[in-house]
Symmetry: C2
Subunit: 320 residues, 2 copies
């Protein structure tokens, strides 16, 4: 467990640095679009930069929500899966940053008053609390857009076919039949009773697909054969669901200070979760079964996958 | 002018069909991700699809806002610019649809209560009025995401390097130093006096960059030489600004039924526009100068660019 903690910490720090470097700032922009000189009304007027307030706010909001620690599980999956196929840390961190920008945008929008209405996130005030609702909507939009800019850039991989496959897979995992679809289901779930099957399907879309994409990204970067990519998908879906059940257990049993956000919200909202259907004990047991199943998917890999095996244990044992 | 109207109508109809076909529906999904079979809790349970409410709402909202007519100027630019380089209509319509999905998402989010708070759009109730705020936020997110899925697909172009360049350019044009940045400036502009330079810069980001991208997309698909791509960028920026000035003139002078949305909102909001700074007459004159300048950029093209020349005239003459 100690080695996993060290690696989690190390990847989390490298990722934070990578995101910091990729994201625009007041002084710099890694993608060559520093303050754009406006086109004057007619060609006889000189071209000159003329910054207006607004961009700064947007960039500050993007940075505030992105660079705020967090568990960084998805980036860890990308980096560790990429390592199985000998991909450079530099490349896998770029792809991981793109996925984390998507995850971050979804948190920003999810916290909005019209959505889950959460005032706290990762132990800090939510984006819209600090910057206002409009800025939070736009910062989410801009991060979502930026994720694809990062993946389209050759720093991720010299082969454009690989970059296109990353983009295609990420857009599917986060779109209407992925994360966004799952969030919509989740909102409608508050109004009705869901069966176990329906809750699993909801979770699979809401969090499972992006977990799967995080693992697949490593396989795509390493041009891995299909069966290995599928094994990682299976692993990801199992730990994704185990992660979600643990989240619900923490929500049901945890305290605000330990978890870093509001807890017991699900019960207040009358939301169906696997816990409300299975009860706490059977849900915990189910998380255990899923962790074992996840580890089973890794049988095709040798000792190189040990950290991924350890992660499956960690996901159900975590306290926040 | 008659020929332009016919072509505008024809492109608008082909685009509507293309978007209809690309967008998911209840029965079909052009990207192979029909209702995903959920992974059961353990591998001994059978895999079976189990749809939950929510996806349907999201897909309905995406379709409602996308398939609602509109001027479709950006798609027209893409199709006409692509035609200059002999690109197939099929390919240019795919790219045009992606750009229009981005434009549509920005309208959905812009109409939200926390943003411009508009209850009407293109003569119909806005997305959040029909589907609720949460669904509108997610439908915008899903359309933004979907645009990149469309561009990553080989139906757009067999060469993945071309697809990556489309994605890179579109994400830059619509992100923090493009459309999203411009929208943020626009929101902050309500609180202060802007100079002419600042208003132009704001408009350039808010609408100009996506106009430019719409033209560049044609050049990228046709692997056009840099100078021709730059000429189209110059053209696009000039008609983009001329378009915006005309929009502001319509807002200042038009009636709700003719324009199809609420008018005189800018004055009510005390927002600085080129009209509030220049006055109506000088603004109209400026639109004229920009249209001429736009046509000048097309000198490198022969008669094939005549429809683009006619468009520059149309943009400042339109009544809605």
């Amino acid at each position: 467990m100690d080695e996993l903690q060290r690696t989690l910490q190390e990847v989390s720090e490298s990722l934070e640095q990578k995101m910091d470097k990729l994201l625009p700032s007041d002084e710099d922009d890694n993608y060559g679009n520093t303050v754009i000189a406006f086109r004057p009304l007619n060609d006889n007027m000189p071209d000159k930069p003329s910054p207006v307030g607004g961009e700064d706010t947007l960039i500050k909001a993007m940075r505030y929500s992105s660079l705020s620690g967090g568990k960084r599980l998805r980036p860890f999956l990308t980096v560790m899966c990429a390592k199985l196929f000998g991909v450079s840390r530099e490349a896998s961190l770029c792809a991981a940053a793109a996925i984390e920008f998507i995850h971050t945008y979804s948190l920003i929008h999810d916290d909005l008053p019209a959505m889950d209405d959460d005032a706290m996130r990762r132990g800090k005030p939510s984006c819209h609390i600090v910057f206002g609702e409009a800025a939070a909507i736009l910062a989410g939009d801009a991060l979502l857009t930026f994720a694809f800019q990062v993946l389209a850039d050759e720093r991720v991989h010299p082969d454009p076919a690989v970059r296109c496959e990353l983009i295609r897979t990420l857009s599917m995992a986060s779109g209407y039949r992925g994360m966004a679809g799952g969030q919509m289901m989740d909102l409608e779930a508050e109004k009705k009773q869901l069966s176990i099957d329906e809750i699993i399907r909801l979770q699979r879309l809401k969090t499972g697909e992006l977990f799967a994409m995080s693992c697949e990204a490593g396989a795509i970067l390493g041009k891995a054969p299909r069966p290995l990519r599928s094994a990682l998908r299976g692993y990801a879906h199992d730990i994704g669901l185990a992660f979600q059940i643990t989240d619900d257990l923490l929500d049901a049993e945890g305290t605000r200070s330990a978890v870093g956000k509001e807890v017991k919200k699900d019960k207040q909202a009358g939301k169906a979760t696997l816990i409300s259907v299975l009860g706490i004990e059977r849900a915990r047991e189910q998380a255990r079964i899923l962790a074992n199943q996840a580890i089973g998917h890794l049988d095709v890999f040798d000792r190189k996958a040990d950290q991924l095996r350890a992660l499956a244990e960690f996901v159900i044992a975590r306290k926040s």
